[in-house]
């Protein structure tokens, strides 16, 4: 990935990944909602060695902008060979249970906006027969749990969409990498009590680039979430539904 569009560039995981890409001398088109924050991330990227850094302030919930955004990024960087979708919200499960409007917000940001962005990106990469699409999903998408099933559903739907996209793009030489982090110590999880399962965003970012370089299909980050989620997926539903998770 040498010319990369980064969506949700001010998120902690995206920032850490941007640092690693910058040290490799990549060109970056950074997109986020807050201009001042974006500027700080862009300065950091430039200082760390990014060949070129452009920024655009945009709320990615606004899907009408997505096609043009991909065009602008490709024009600014002289092409695109990678995209990192790192924007997302955790939402509030209780609020989402009470009100569909809250649930829809989570689905819009985490799932619908990703579909909307991946459509022009996939078409562009398919046409150029090259590129890597890296999408940050979550272990929460592997199984619905009462404590966060709206968030989980947004990520589960995303996973299925990415499976299909991967299947479609395999013959075009385009990699679709689904990244499933577990708990990461970021502002998104600021309210949660930290325990030994929490990983630092730097570690997750290293895993993301390893997976992208190797053109992996799906990765759990850190890797120990693989066996954990395998076990959780294996619990029969009639047992699972009585568990407090």
């Amino acid at each position: 990935m040498k010319k990369v569009l980064v969506l949700g560039a001010t998120s902690a995981i995206a920032q850490s990944t941007v640092r690693l890409l910058s040290a490799r001398g990549a060109s970056l088109y950074l997109v986020g909602r807050n201009t001042e924050r974006l500027e700080a991330v862009a300065k950091d990227a430039r200082t760390r060695g990014a060949a070129r850094v452009e920024t655009e302030t945009l709320d990615l919930d606004d899907a009408t902008q997505h096609e043009a955004l991909v065009e602008r990024a490709a024009a600014a960087l002289g092409g695109l060979d990678g995209a990192l979708l790192a924007h997302g919200i955790l939402g509030n499960q209780e609020a989402a249970q009470r009100s569909y409007a809250e649930a829809e917000k989570v689905l819009r940001t985490n799932f619908l906006s990703a579909v909307s962005l991946l459509t022009p990106l996939a078409n562009r990469f398919e046409a150029q027969k090259a590129g890597t699409l890296v999408v940050i999903s979550s272990v929460a998408g592997d199984r619905g749990r009462q404590s966060n099933y709206v968030y989980g559903a947004s990520k589960g739907a995303l996973n299925v969409f990415l499976q299909g996209l991967r299947n479609r793009l395999a013959r075009s030489g385009v990699a679709v990498v689904t990244v499933k982090p577990g708990f990461v110590d970021t502002p998104m999880t600021a309210a949660m009590k930290k325990n030994a399962l929490f990983a630092q965003p730097e570690k997750v970012a290293r895993g993301i680039l390893r997976a992208a370089d190797a053109r992996k299909d799906e990765v759990y980050l850190p890797g120990f979430w693989g066996p954990i989620m395998f076990a959780i997926r294996g619990i029969p539903e009639r047992v699972f539904k009585r568990m407090k998770l």
Binding site: A12, A40, K43, D44, T47, R48, P187
Partner: protein, 455 residues
């Protein structure tokens, strides 16, 4: 996790953690009007980085580089950036830190707030001297770019200001040129404290880096014997030397995975370590080429080495005394008291400070001899010992380093830091620390004063 200082003494409770992530945004307003204190990497030893009953503004995520000019060596970065991160960015481009303390795992903000020093103090002065400019964010939302030219009083109050004048959001650092990552180092054994002084004097002009390790167990005739290290950045003819394992000796990548039990560090093991350390040199001077990492950061190779002192932690004591007969007598008494104590210092370091002035009013270093000792925390006995060392320092006209202190009282502080009253006017009304309350006779858990919360 509970935030602690590096010495893990004192332990304070009811501290809230408030991460600061963006320089451009206002400070979090303390809930219920409690006080704020910036907290970088927690490498201060005592309680100058703690705020019992208040909030800690953690800066670990305020770690972006903002600009680096490889032609001039001026780096601009956010205050949570560590010296380690700076070294990774600049050393391969031929630049190095102008001043570095004995660990690279400190934040830039912490290095300014404690106006840290290193082995080159006699030539380069303190860290703050190489920070031409920084931005200070106060709890009332005001921002000041501080330098010798603009907001000079705030500049001078904040360097060495222990984080109390507000939050440093970003800073410029003037780096120094380096041709290769090597240090040409000489090691010279000296038999007593009296032999240290001429060595230190004769080395000042020709060696950028000087420091001495002192055998803390010796008394009487051999009191203050040790090894004198001096060195310089290796000149360009060493550029082509390939890096080998020998240049990186003792870089183990080890970590201390758990607290050592209290008995692991006892008089016998400390004595054995100190004896072996001295005799490894076999009484002869030696020369060598070493990488900067083991030269400047020998302890950084062992992550969380502070755990060898056990759960009760340890107390550091660092003073500077005049390079005079009075000062020598004070050092002798401090070393003797340390050696006679039940639990002698594990690692004792002696250095001659130079007379390069710091811009900071509250900066610790001044011309004289500085001695650092550490004592495992054995409760009252240790506190009494440290109080004695403090008294000896005060009577000799010296001063104690706040970044390493956990015990000094208001009288000592007043004697050591005559600028404290002028400084106090620049302390942010919403900021405080456990250290600041201790040395100002304020309650350890400061009840939130009405109207102070937002400054």
């Amino acid at each position: 996790m509970e935030l602690q200082s590096w010495g893990r003494y004192p332990r304070v409770t009811q501290q809230r953690e408030r991460p600061v992530t963006w320089t451009t945004e206002p400070l979090p307003v303390p809930a219920g009007g409690g006080t704020l204190l910036p907290y970088g990497q927690g490498r201060s030893y005592g309680d100058s980085c703690l705020n019992a009953g208040g909030s800690l503004l953690t800066t670990a995520r305020l770690d972006r580089f903002l600009d680096f000019n490889p032609a001039t060596g001026v780096l601009r970065c956010e205050s949570g950036v560590t010296l380690d991160a700076i070294l990774r960015l600049v050393t391969w481009q031929g630049w190095f830190l102008p001043v570095t303390p004995g660990t690279k795992f400190v934040s830039v903000g912490g290095a300014i707030a404690n106006d840290v020093h290193g082995k080159n103090h006699h030539q380069a002065g303190t860290f703050g001297r190489h920070v031409p400019r920084f931005e200070l964010l106060r709890s009332d939302g005001s921002r000041r770019v501080c330098s010798l030219e603009e907001n000079r009083d705030w500049y001078e109050a904040t360097i060495g200001g222990l984080g109390l004048t507000g939050l440093i959001t970003w800073a410029d650092i003037q780096l120094r040129r380096m041709s290769n990552p090597y240090i040409l180092q000489e090691t010279l054994p000296f038999g007593s404290l009296d032999e240290f002084l001429p060595l230190a004097h004769e080395s000042e002009a020709d060696y950028e880096f000087t420091v001495a390790w002192v055998d803390s167990l010796e008394k009487g005739r051999r009191l203050g014997r040790g090894l004198f290290y001096r060195g310089n950045h290796a000149p360009p003819q060493f550029d082509a030397v390939p890096l080998t394992r020998s240049h990186l000796s003792r870089q183990s990548g080890l970590a201390v995975p758990f607290d050592f039990p209290g008995f692991a560090l006892n008089r016998l093991s400390v004595a054995a370590f100190n004896w072996l350390y001295y005799h490894r040199q076999r009484g002869k001077p030696s020369e060598g080429l070493v990488h900067y990492d083991p030269f400047f950061y020998p302890l950084d190779g062992v992550h969380r080495w502070n755990r060898i002192y056990g759960r009760r932690g340890f107390l550091q004591f660092q003073c500077v005394v005049p390079a005079s007969d009075t000062g020598m007598a004070a050092l002798r008494e401090i070393l003797e008291r340390g050696a006679r104590s039940g639990m002698p210092s594990f690692l004792t370091v002696l250095k001659m400070f130079g007379d390069v002035p710091s811009p900071g009013w509250m900066s610790f270093p001044r011309r004289g001899m500085t001695l650092a000792l550490d004592f495992a925390n054995r409760g009252e006995r240790t506190y009494r010992l440290v109080a004695e060392l403090d008294r000896v320092t005060r009577e000799a006209g010296g001063r104690v380093y706040p970044a390493k202190d956990a015990r000094m009282g208001p009288e000592s502080f007043a004697a050591y830091y005559p600028e404290r009253e002028r400084f106090a006017r620049y302390v942010d009304p919403a900021f405080s620390s456990s250290f600041w309350r201790r040395v100002n006779n304020l309650p350890a858990h400061l009840p939130s004063p009405a109207g102070r919360g937002t400054g």
